[in-house]
Chain length 248, copies 2
DNA sequence: TCAAAAGTGTTTCGGATACACCCATGA
DNA sequence: TCATGGGTGTATCCGAAACACTTTTGA
């Protein structure tokens, strides 16, 4: 796993000299969603002797915002090229209420650009960075108090994700390669926050023609062995771009 | 109409000293939509001896991004408190390809935050600013070549507006206070870019309970006089917030 | 009097919803 | 053998889409 490449020797230096590497007044925060044990999770970071917050970072001088977000995501999760989408920029001058950090660069007001990511839980090995002591998954229903407006940012990400369900498929990045229909349904149910009819859900999903049913079944669990599916990558990607209409 | 309050004496000074007033590396661009003569319009600005571009501006040190966008909008249109929504941040380091302006502040790379606005055409008196020679409406289908990535920004705004039609009512800010059903339909048709059935459209709209039919009719035109409607402001606002589902 | 626009109502069809039965598996 | 979860099919209903006739008005 890649360690964060901070070109600084100390936190102090990073705070005051960051402007040489990063754009001033601008940050990127990532709401990283995962799915595990039938629950939607979000990856959070804990500052040393401080509160929990969203994994974030800054924009290098010659980097696009997308690249920054990808880099930040990679630093925290080790993952590359997963689903990552910008959803909103937060720019209230009072958003960092209670900010204590001082420094010519870091002490200033920051406007943050929010991205949300969908990643496969099992592939992630959470990595704290030099400024943080812990990095782990939280159930979205149980996230602790977050710093600044990060709770608001997370909620907006969740809201955006929910809305996008009506136009875009979800699952490719959140589920393992092979998964069962009940798993997929649980995913939708947790994102939407409401139960769905098992039979109607299956019909809808299959009618989208994005799923390939495998010969194998998921064994090991109690009860009847469910089929395994995988996504038809090609159709899935084109559905992501073109959009589709599903109503829940 | 408010003139742009540039606290600078010259363009030169503005370019080099802007950092005292505005955040560096950050701008706001507004895609201002209007509706006139059955066509969707967008308000564009022409630089002195330069290309056309979106009306934009910068973020003051103690101003929220929303406030900046509102201020910029007011400067160009004279309008206050109209529908204005952030839709995306554009941050490719190469987005300002061919940028010629020099200066310690303005010459740097800029990340721009896009807003789109819906305004009532007849109430707008386009105002060029100190840096521009012209400000006028263009039919969205006939916009000229735009500077940098402004065409892309406009297209993304249009796309966002289109998507939002499925969840939110439109018209309050784009139409005059009193309007006819055919006018409202034309508005939807131009935004969507496709014709709609007259009778079904009316049924759908009325079923939303956002319209109040007035006693008067629109006289003067040839043919049968259509009813005039106005929006039920209260229900309209709550529908804007809560969201609703219309399918086109 | 006629063409063009506007107002209104009915039929039809498809997709979403609700719902029931059978099968497999481990306890 | 039974409780639990998974697979599949059918009836129903509601809302969208398709569609036709009448009315008004200026030319």
């Amino acid at each position: 796993m890649a360690k964060r490449e901070l070109p600084f020797q100390s936190r102090q230096e990073f705070h005051e000299e960051g402007h040489r590497v990063f754009l001033p007044h601008l940050s990127v925060d990532c709401v990283i969603f995962g799915f595990h044990n039938d629950a939607l999770k979000v990856l959070l970071l804990k500052w040393k002797q401080g509160p929990w917050c969203l994994p974030g970072g800054f924009i290098k001088h010659r980097e696009s915002i997308d690249q920054s977000a990808n880099r930040i995501l990679k630093e925290r999760t080790g993952l590359d090229s997963i689903f990552l989408e910008q959803f909103y920029a937060f720019g209230d001058p009072a958003r960092e209420k209670g900010k204590r950090v001082k420094g010519a660069w870091i002490g200033k007001r920051f406007i943050t650009i929010g991205y949300y990511a969908l990643v496969e839980y099992s592939q992630v090995f959470p990595q704290p960075d030099l400024l943080s002591s812990e990095c782990r998954w939280w159930d979205v229903d149980e996230v602790p108090e977050l710093i600044y407006d990060h709770k608001e940012i997370m909620n907006k990400a969740l809201y955006t994700l929910r809305l996008s369900l009506n136009d875009h498929p979800v699952g490719y990045n959140l589920l393992p390669e092979k998964f069962t229909m009940p798993q997929l349904q649980k995913l939708y149910e947790t994102i939407l926050g409401e139960p769905l009819d098992r039979r109607n859900f299956q019909k809808q999903m299959l009618s989208l023609n994005l799923l390939i049913r495998l010969k194998e079944r998921k064994t090991g669990g109690a009860h009847k062995a469910p089929f395994l599916y995988k996504f038809d990558k090609k159709r899935y990607s084109s559905a992501l771009q073109t959009g589709l209409r599903i109503s829940f």
